[in-house]
Amino acid sequence: MTDIPFLSLAIWIPILGGLLVLATGQDANARMARTVALLTAVFGLAVTLPLYTRFDASTAGMQFVELHDWIAYFNVHYHLGIDGLSLWFVLLNAFITVLVVIAGWQVIQNRVAQYMAAFLIMSGLMNGVFAALDGVLFYVFFEASLIPLYLVIGVWGGPNRVYAAIKFFLFTLAGSLLMLLALLYLYKSTGSFEILAWHRAVLSMPVQSLIFFAFLAAFGVKVPMWPVHTWLPDAHVEAPTGGSVVLAAIALKLGAYGFVRFSLPIAPDASMHYAPLVIALSLIAVVYIGLVALVQGDMKKLVAYSSISHMGFVTLGFFMMNPLGVEGALIQMISHGFVSAAMFLCIGVLYDRMHSRQIADYGGVVKTMPRFAAFFMLFAMANCGLPATSGFVGEFTVILGAVQYNFWVGLLAATTLILGAAYTLWMYKRVVFGAVSNENVAKLTDIDAREFFFLALLAVCVLAMGVYPFPFTDVMHVSVNKLLEHVIAGKLSLLP
């Protein structure tokens, strides 16, 4: 197909660029650090574009494959490749990185080089997660990508950052250890770390069940699913804006992606068998978390809970095992990348001016920041799934899939129409509408050109995806269908 190793470029350009940024050193050189970071991020995005333009939507096989020996003794390879399930996340990740660099341009004045480098390196590592086809490589990327995020919260975070960072770390670590065991077991039984070989490995039901729960622990925490979600609101509240953006837009997707790359194809029969459990947990996320979001007084917590609720749609979609559900869930993941990023950036814009995230400290922002209010309105509407925004596409498709799966599941899922609108617009009302509530709000200045730029960029994405989602799903069909055929066929009939 091509000789240019696009996936390696997508992984290593941000990482090496990040090192270069780090080399600019102290804050005296902050200007240079920012410039190098932006160039790296843009370049990093540019090299991912051919992944879409040269993508062959007619095959479910891995594309842009790179295969080299890494640790020959253990049969570990540097093996990369993407299919219709992973393509969009590499692009989304590279895109969000550009936004984060721009968003942190002025706000971060302290350890600029390290801040920028953290995000660039994280971006490269996460691309590695989406592209890895070797179990060890995946695990290394998956775990390593945690570290920069952990540091971003711990260094540039709020007053309670240490607690939040450690809570985040402990939750995710616990899950990861179980996953490591599963990976080692799979290696032992197949003699290979090839993820695709694991897909083919014939496993008995008890084995599949154990593997399924190990993965569920690892990925469920990451998504996060109820009841292992409580680290996320704390992490968001303490994280700087950029950290929240990457956490919501990309980091949560790592877990969701793990389900379609590992759980479903490696343990198809167990996945089918325990699907009702995952669906139940997802519905709890939609309803329970939706109600919890309603009563939050902190905007970031509110959006964090809203993220959990929206990610509930992703796990719901995957485990209904119908094409509408799976494709809808993948779309929801992409859309949530845009919308949650936009929501956190909007809150960041307010926080930079007021140094408060409390809804009660606001009121009447539209009077002093009309342009901001317009953007915030658009993203709030996307957050409650209004048609013509990206938020609608995934929710609508998953709900259609859910009604097809079971009317009652669809009914519970559809409550998001009411709950999502209630928590989002109630917050919007108290923050943006109304008379100017205090002097601080009266002194606010509207968004500047830089803020306008990144909000407008996201607005274009949200609207474009809402009006014409065709290209997004077009590349998924074959991969999704193959996945579902594989899962439904199961492995038990192949047992000797």
Partner: protein, 664 residues
């Protein structure tokens, strides 16, 4: 220009107007913004006229514009279905919208949000047109939610008013409750037919009729229809999802006319008429529709009697009239429902805009207790209001008479469960309508002049600190306001007998509306007994509705002109009833406590007990010692070289694993 281009032009011209006025309003200035917006709607109206001609000539159209998405083997498309039902709606929407656009120049002239307002109403016109022109459920839902969005933005247009931003949130959420049902209905359709295209779905309707719903055993089609109708209950404000509409009067008057009277609220009626091939196959669903509609028609009318805010009277009247349309749907008289939808669009838009004109004349005082005797000062507003009121109460020769009488006759001939109750409601409703309409008319235009008094009798609407100064006299509104009144008064008067024959007698809708078996027997009987509008008028003069309406007018005259002390006496005697009515049957209180309060209570409980106590308490505090320990370790890193350490860690992991294992 070929027809396809014309179809596209209809929604896109207002969209272009909205974008220009909204995004470049500063550059274009006020005049530029309203010219562009009006031009967009005018183009849409003219194009609709041309399409009407074409459809009259027998050309219909049903095709996709583009494939929006494919997922799970289902095609999601954006496309148009242009038939007689569509084109009628297009004409009503674009005409009323055009009138409202022109009127807005006068009504909003000194508002700082002028361009924004034009942008919103043009955007609304676009959304509404997408809704009515759709040939599939996706786009229907799309338009459905989009009009809801614009309604939300416009109700909260004066965003500094606490009442306005409470009302718009309420409107959006109540509509979302309806949409929740609507979406489930669409989901059931997609799940059972694998398609969202009207034609495909209707083609399979008869197969669906016999099926049962998986997991519940309910008749599938009944479930689908009731789910869809729940959507209509939200949008068309049927009991108990009606609560948002009276509050929506917090928005500027032009949008009350356009959105909350003439067009958006009729979307539910239109939708059910469009879905007639489905509803016809479920008598249970039809009965449900009938009873809900009848309840709305009568009980919301009662509430109109006790309102003092001029706009709220018209709002309750709208609720009641929407109930009439819904009743018509219930008895399968879809054509009568759409007929009433059309006549109502004209006379109700007229009544709202006239109320707006009165409000301008009284410097934004909306309380009818501060009006009276306005006929002397505002002649055009007075006459056009009278025409609107006469049309509303169904006076023979006026448009409302033909549509409302058709509905009543249709109910009379129905044998569905609930039709007896419905007949009582619609007949009693005629009296109630006449009473509150002429109560308003007399209070505003006749009797003692009560404006310009020092103290206003406000009833809690703290925002209306307006009104005329003592001694000041109201004067007629400018031409941009009165011209739309006149242009709407003409169809309010005439459109009934011009369109009665083609719409009802001539089976004009053709196969756009399907009526099954012996449904709508009452309507058929009436059409057979009175073959044209003359006969129907004569027949009407001897019918009960006419005398009921007359009685309503006379009562209103006695109460508010002859003996103005009488209402107080009656209120005193019927104190309990009066309290119930003034509290709007306690719907708002109930929702506030049970749903809003309940959700918050539940949310707080789940958060504090579930998340914090249970999950964090057991799961996290259990490892809190670990946390303390880890924190101590972490504090070692607070040296300013944290980053270097971390990075070394990552690289170290890679390098060590590689070397150690390869060498090992």
């Amino acid at each position: 220009m070929n027809m396809q281009t014309l179809y596209l032009l209809v929604p896109l011209a207002p969209l272009a107007g909205a974008l220009v006025a909204g995004l470049f309003g500063k550059t274009t200035g006020r005049t530029g913004a309203h010219l562009v917006a009006i031009a967009g709607v005018l183009v849409a109206f003219l194009a609709s006229l041309a399409i009407f001609q074409d459809v009259q000539a027998g050309h219909t159209f049903n095709a996709a514009v583009y494939t929006w998405m494919q997922a799970g083997g289902v095609n999601f498309e954006i496309g148009f279905l242009i038939d007689k039902l569509t084109v009628l709606m297009m004409l009503v929407v674009t005409f009323v919208s055009l009138m409202v656009h022109i009127y807005t120049i006068g009504y909003m002239s000194d508002d700082p949000g002028y361009q924004r307002f034009f942008s919103y109403i043009s955007l609304f016109t676009f959304s509404m047109l997408m809704l009515v022109m759709s040939n599939n459920f996706l786009q229907l839902f799309f338009g459905w939610e989009a009009v809801g969005l614009v309604s939300y933005l416009l109700i909260g247009f004066w965003y500094e008013r606490p009442t306005a931003i409470h009302a718009n949130l309420k409107a959006f959420l109540v509509n979302r409750v309806g949409d929740f049902g609507f979406l489930l209905g669409i989901g059931l359709i997609a799940a059972t037919t694998g398609s969202l295209d009207y034609q495909t779905v209707f083609g399979q309707a008869s197969q669906l009729a016999g099926q049962e719903m998986a997991f519940t055993g309910w008749p599938l089609l009944t479930a689908i229809c009731i789910c869809l109708f729940i959507g209509a209950m939200g949008k068309s404000a049927q009991v108990p999802l009606h609560v948002w509409l009276p509050d929506s009067m917090e928005g500027p008057t032009p949008i009350s006319a356009l959105i909350h009277a003439a067009t958006m609220v009729t979307a539910g009626i239109f939708m059910v008429a469009r879905m007639s091939p489905l509803f016809e196959l479920s008598e249970t669903a039809l009965s449900f529709v009938l009873v809900i509609g009848a309840t709305t028609a009568l009980f919301m009318g009662f509430l109109g009697i006790v309102q003092n805010d001029i706009k709220r009277v018209v709002a309750y009247s709208t609720l009641s009239q929407l109930g009439y349309m819904t009743v018509a749907l219930g008895v399968s008289a879809y054509s009568a429902a759409v007929f009433h939808l059309m006549t109502h669009a004209f006379f109700k838009a007229l009544l709202f805009l006239a109320a707006g004109s009165v409000i301008i004349g009284l410097r934004h005082d909306q309380d009818m207790r501060n009006m009276g005797g306005l006929w002397k000062y505002m002649k055009i507003t007075w006459i056009t209001s009278l025409i609107g009121s006469l049309a509303l109460i169904g006076t023979p020769f006026f448009s409302g008479f033909y549509s409302k009488d058709s509905i009543i006759e249709a109910v009379g001939g129905s044998s569905l469960p609930g039709s007896g109750y419905a007949l009582f409601c619609v007949l009693a409703g005629v009296f109630v309508t006449a009473f509150y309409s002429f109560r308003m008319y007399f209070l505003v235009f006749h009797g003692k002049e009560r404006f310009g008094q020092e103290v206003h009798g406000h009833d809690g609407h703290g925002d209306h600190h307006h009104g005329l100064a003592p001694g000041q006299k109201p004067c007629e509104s400018p031409l941009v306001v009165t011209l739309p009144l006149i242009l709407l008064a003409i169809p309010s008067l005439l459109i009934g007998f011009f369109t009665l024959e083609p719409l009802l007698h001539g089976d004009w809708f053709g196969n756009a509306i399907i009526v099954g078996g012996n449904h709508a027997a009452g309507l058929k009987e009436m059409l057979e007994s009175s073959r044209d509008w003359v006969q129907m008028t004569l027949h009407g003069l001897s019918g009960a509705p006419f005398w009921l309406a007359l009685a309503g007018v006379v009562f209103a005259w006695v109460f508010y002109i002859l003996k103005p002390s009488l209402p107080g006496v009656v209120r005193g005697k019927l104190a309990v009833l009066n309290t119930v009515l003034e509290n709007k049957y306690y719907f708002d209180r109930f929702n506030e406590i049970v749903f809003a309060g309940g959700a918050r209570l539940l949310g707080n409980g789940l958060w504090k007990q579930g998340d914090q106590k249970l999950i964090d308490g057991i799961g996290v505090t259990g490892s809190s010692r670990l946390v303390t320990l880890a924190a101590r370790v972490l504090s070692l890193f607070q040296t300013g070289h944290l980053y270097q350490y971390a990075f070394t860690m990552i690289v170290g992991v890679f390098v060590l694993i590689t070397f150690w294992i390869t060498l090992g």
